[in-house]
Symmetry: C2
Amino acid sequence: MINFADISSAYNVLLPVINKTPLLSSRTFNEMTDNEVYFKAENFQRIGAFKFRGAYNKIASLTDAERKSGVIAHSSGNHGQGVALASKIFGIKATIVMPHNSVKSKVEATKGYGANVIFCGLSTDDREKTTQELIDKHGYTLIHPYDDEKLIAGQGTVGLEIFQEIKELDYLFVPIGGGGLISGCAIAAKHYCPSTKVIGVETEGANDCYQSFRAKRLIKLSSVNTIADGMRTLSVGKRNFEIIMKHVDDVITIKDEDIYSMMRFFFERMKILVEPTGAVAPTAIMKNILGLQGKKVCAVISGGNVDMTFFKQLL
Amino acid sequence: MINFADISSAYNVLLPVINKTPLLSSRTFNEMTDNEVYFKAENFQRIGAFKFRGAYNKIASLTDAERKSGVIAHSSGNHGQGVALASKIFGIKATIVMPHNSVKSKVEATKGYGANVIFCGLSTDDREKTTQELIDKHGYTLIHPYDDEKLIAGQGTVGLEIFQEIKELDYLFVPIGGGGLISGCAIAAKHYCPSTKVIGVETEGANDCYQSFRAKRLIKLSSVNTIADGMRTLSVGKRNFEIIMKHVDDVITIKDEDIYSMMRFFFERMKILVEPTGAVAPTAIMKNILGLQGKKVCAVISGGNVDMTFFKQLL
């Protein structure tokens, strides 16, 4: 299992290339929720989401020979863009396997960073089969979206930045997809401020980690149904789950419909664009699922890559 | 004419109540424009625009008797909201005179801060007549939207914050409506870094200050036509023009149509919401009106209060 030193090393690697994202706050939101709330704005990260951190740290750790052969990732969203941009910076070849029904803007963005996009079927099996075939044929190195130590260490720098700026927190809310972000952030939180309660947040329609956390064993869902596309993993990773069981204090869920009001608040009151997955952890504070009062809390906004057609409908 | 000491005093008054807004940057925008560009994000200010600063500083300077009688402002937009919120904080009565065709969301926001909204006709004469009648009847104190020393000192704290964070700049771009923001910012800029060129930006359809600056006398337009509603003043104020002639290096114009691409860039790439007037100064950099290269430049984003119907159309 990785520890804080791995996150600290990752930060040295990342510092020249990432955006140090701000902690935002809103007097209105504080009054609404009766807590002192900070939002870690990873929607301002390069590629518009935290995923760039882990992808870059992983690619930086490859051997010259591995980098020369190129890398591959399967992703319908931000991980693919993170790998694509990190590869572009290193000047290496990236292949991103995307479901054939992927949102056009995400395909364009991934191509825009110079990656080669290969389409596949919609199931996880399809994705993995297509990816494995390309690896066998070309010798690419797989950049896993969450179950990887270098990747987790990179995502953990989100937590490192929060505590470097804010020192102490009562609660830290982090969204859970595959578990890369929360496992890294939990290690950083417990390093800087062991009393901070780290709370994972999922949507009700993709509550695999909520179930796994209670069962104390990794549960894999057969299907998920949520607007938060970053949550559509059937289970968290093995490495991630180990860290979650050790460092995370609770996992809770919120409703998809509440994400919309949170996104609207961000847009109309705070003037920032947040994607559905990015609004999941803040929604847990807005709906005050834990009944907190007078606490110093932070929620990670994981990203801001909203499909414009969807966003127009939301407005 | 006010000087930097007035701005510094205003900052002491404002510090407990304002948001210290961030300087944002974008690697993509820097590459596109071949300059090192910072955006002062006053769309993150309370009420969503810089106007809160000046309004609060002015109301803070009133006598107890004046505050007890209440204040009045005429505004279809952000100034009204600034006066309304500042008045709410001081616990005094505010009356805002708004044209009867004002955008509903702005009327609601102004009322939301507890102000009494009175509607009037569309012409400047109508507004002033309605306002004067209310002053005569109730003894309200007028909070002018730009031609006022306390107000200018308050808006100047935008410039103070920029230079406290960034120390040196080659160019500072500021939008010009009535001239409150640019006159305050120019005084701050020349105090901290006399070599900084301060550039005022207007839209072609509301280029009164562009004309006045060249003619070296205050020119009043008979009409204006621009999407940037904060620019729809027929001339800058007398006090503002004096400061502009002393401290501003040039006034330039941009086209309305270019504002849209700048707003889109802010939204899609930087994940922030900027109103048309707020995008005017950044547009001058995007279109590189001055042909700059390798310069350290900053543009003030004056606000982020976009009407949602308009924004949907833009998307």
